[in-house]
Symmetry: C2
Subunit: 405 residues, 2 copies
């Protein structure tokens, strides 16, 4: 009997967790597992705001796939997916194609710019290692240029962050710590630098507890962040942005606009023949695509409704990894001829947002709110936990975050 071919697309939180769980559950004779990823490394997408602000090195936020995947069991293909053809059980790659018996789609997110003019061309994104370290270098470069010009350009020192959600706020927290260091390095008066957050909703962190929002505003404003809430971004050029608030437009000159306000599922999902709901596959409880029984979808490409709130679960690493465990279990069951598939149930471990190296806020243990230094310790525990689940204690020791006293 021919071994079934399992192909996993993407080595983010969802795809990589599926792979490492599957390689434990299946023997080399049970199935041929192939993992496809654009890079030969996995990156911690939830740490990218630190790379982008320059508070950790890019290398700290990634590790080699071969360090956690057992290459005697898993065939790793470094390539870029071009299209998914579920009716033919086939995936087209830039440098070839793969046939599968079972497919796991874990291709993550991409930025959504909602048609705002100039945004996709001119704004910086915190999407991956390449774009994050480019943003860091861009900020450094503008600070370095500032004192080299006779006519000083304030655009070099204004940094606009579009979006006051989780990513935008975490980036602001890092930036607020990093800017004083940059000012010292490049002989720039801290008071000349503006860090401006633009959020369309009436408050930052929509959906968060008001006390957490208040704490965050205080922490960031104390470090010089300006907030413009209820303000819509109307356009972005290389030289600045236009925002609209209460019917009035304002121009803010800046060479650095960061877009952290919208994500959508990888657009390959929408382009594939899979049935989808605004770009995401509304999976069955066992995480299979309703239109194709042999296709699983996990992470940011999957749509699952939270019955309590009647809203979809947000795209988070925590959810992607929990989905991956269910996906791996169900795949292994099917391959071994079983039919007792698990249903995904979200087990909320809490949410903590970092606000810089020594500050954070969030909710843990169901409803316990935490703030400040102790929350920042908790945040590091959470970050290390995800390393542990994928690569064990060795990976935690190599890439983990620890407070040095």
């Amino acid at each position: 009997m021919k071994k079934p071919n399992i192909v996993i697309l993407g080595a983010g939180y969802g795809g990589l967790t599926t792979t490492v769980k599957l390689q434990k559950k299946l023997g080399a004779n049970d199935a041929q597992i192939t993992l496809v990823n654009k890079h030969d490394y996995h990156y911690e997408a939830t740490w990218l705001h630190e790379v982008a602000a320059g508070t950790i090195s890019p290398d700290h936020a990634r590790f080699a796939i071969k360090d956690v995947v057992d290459l005697s069991k898993v065939n790793f293909v470094q390539d870029t997916v071009v299209s998914i053809q579920p009716d033919d059980n086939k995936v087209i790659l830039e440098d070839g194609e793969l046939e599968y018996d079972y497919l796991v789609v874990a291709l993550g997110f991409e930025a959504a710019t909602f048609g705002i003019p100039g945004l996709s061309e001119n704004a910086f994104m915190i999407n991956n290692i390449n774009s994050s370290r480019l943003l860091r270098e861009h900020i450094d470069y503008n600070f370095a240029m500032y004192n080299n010009e006779i006519e000083k350009k304030q655009e070099r020192l204004n940094i606009v962050v579009g979006g006051g959600g989780f990513t935008g706020i975490e980036f602001l927290g890092e930036l607020a710590n990093r800017i004083p260091e940059l000012c010292k390095e490049y002989d720039i008066d801290r008071d000349k630098v503006r860090i401006i957050n633009v959020e369309g909703a009436p408050t930052i962190l929509p959906g968060f507890d008001p006390q957490l929002v208040e704490y965050t505003l205080n922490s960031l404003e104390a470090r010089g962040v300006e907030f413009k809430v209820g303000a819509l971004l109307k356009g972005c050029t290389p030289e600045g942005i236009v925002i609209e608030k209460d019917g009035e437009q304002e121009e803010i000159p800046t060479f650095t606009t960061v877009w952290a306000a919208g994500v959508r599922a990888n657009s390959l999902v929408e382009q594939s023949g899979l049935e989808h709901n605004r770009g995401k596959v509304e999976v069955k409880p066992d995480l299979r695509a309703p239109s194709h029984e042999n296709v699983f979808v996990v992470g940011d490409c999957a749509l699952i409704w939270n019955k309590e709130t009647e809203r979809p679960y947000p795209p988070t690493a925590q959810i992607a990894m929990q989905e991956a465990e269910v996906c791996a279990h169900n795949l292994a069951t099917i391959v071994k001829g079983g039919d007792e598939l698990e249903s995904f149930e979200f087990n909320n471990m809490g949410t903590v947002a970092s606000l810089g190296h020594n500050d954070a806020m969030g909710v843990v243990f169901g409803d316990k709110k935490i703030f400040g230094w102790s929350a920042s310790i908790m945040k590091k525990v959470i970050d290390n936990r995800s390393l542990f689940k994928i690569g064990g204690i060795g990976l935690v020791l190599k890439k983990g975050k620890f407070n040095i006293f």
Copy 2:
């Protein structure tokens, strides 16, 4: 009796050494000493190639003037000199003017671009802290951009250094060490990066011993530096350069052209009423300007003939500091009413060029050639010696260079 006013322009090697020697020789009642400098720090101009390559931090290559100048004896003015008016015993600053009884001109060098089209607009220079750290950031930025573009631009990875003299070679040595680190950080194949030196003379390091030149070529070529000697730079744009060799022109696409091939005295000297020879003041043996008895000139703005070679002494830190000691002695003598002025005699302590962190070459003790690791130790000794002469052992411990084993 009114105390004489001594004004010293520039806190480089010449001006700062004059100041610290003078504050030891004169009491607070002997004279009013004023030091004028654009920044509130002195930088080690001979270390700037390391800042520009990113192998040391800008802060390591500078220290606060107040750390070495006794502010109870010396009045420090942070300002930029606009013009020197020796017929009126006056110096015009951006934010005021100063009258003097005695003046020390120690305004250092600026880049000379010999009218090569596009060079002053488009080439990077290793002239001061601001321009050096900008060059570092520019290189980093292009490496960061490389993998963010679908159409890869080789211009981002080609680095051209114009000039194979002392500064050009020292910069190449640092760059050759830094590039492999950058390649690792930004996931770029080292073989894709080109480091190209363009030198108009038939050999690099004209005037150096052939054995030292040979050693240098071997050391740098082994680390991937390409040399184009006997090649003239004909033009420079933001996208590349044109060189001419043996009557044939070649275009080299690059976003990074570094000009390290020519320096001249600060052009304020030429614009002043001081008698000069191609921009430099041909000082008397006691270092006074022939046209104005109360004006001393030291460092790169002074022209002194080496009688052995019948050529002017080159602009080096070593010579500037030796001149400063004579200048301080003569000024103190005059202020105290003496008339026994010293004549400047160059005491050659040798010349060592660094070729990266662990390599160097040069001549010491008159004619002893040194190479490699031991030469690099000697180079660090020389660097520390200049710190010691200006700021004592405290400054050496704070900013010195040490090999960590």
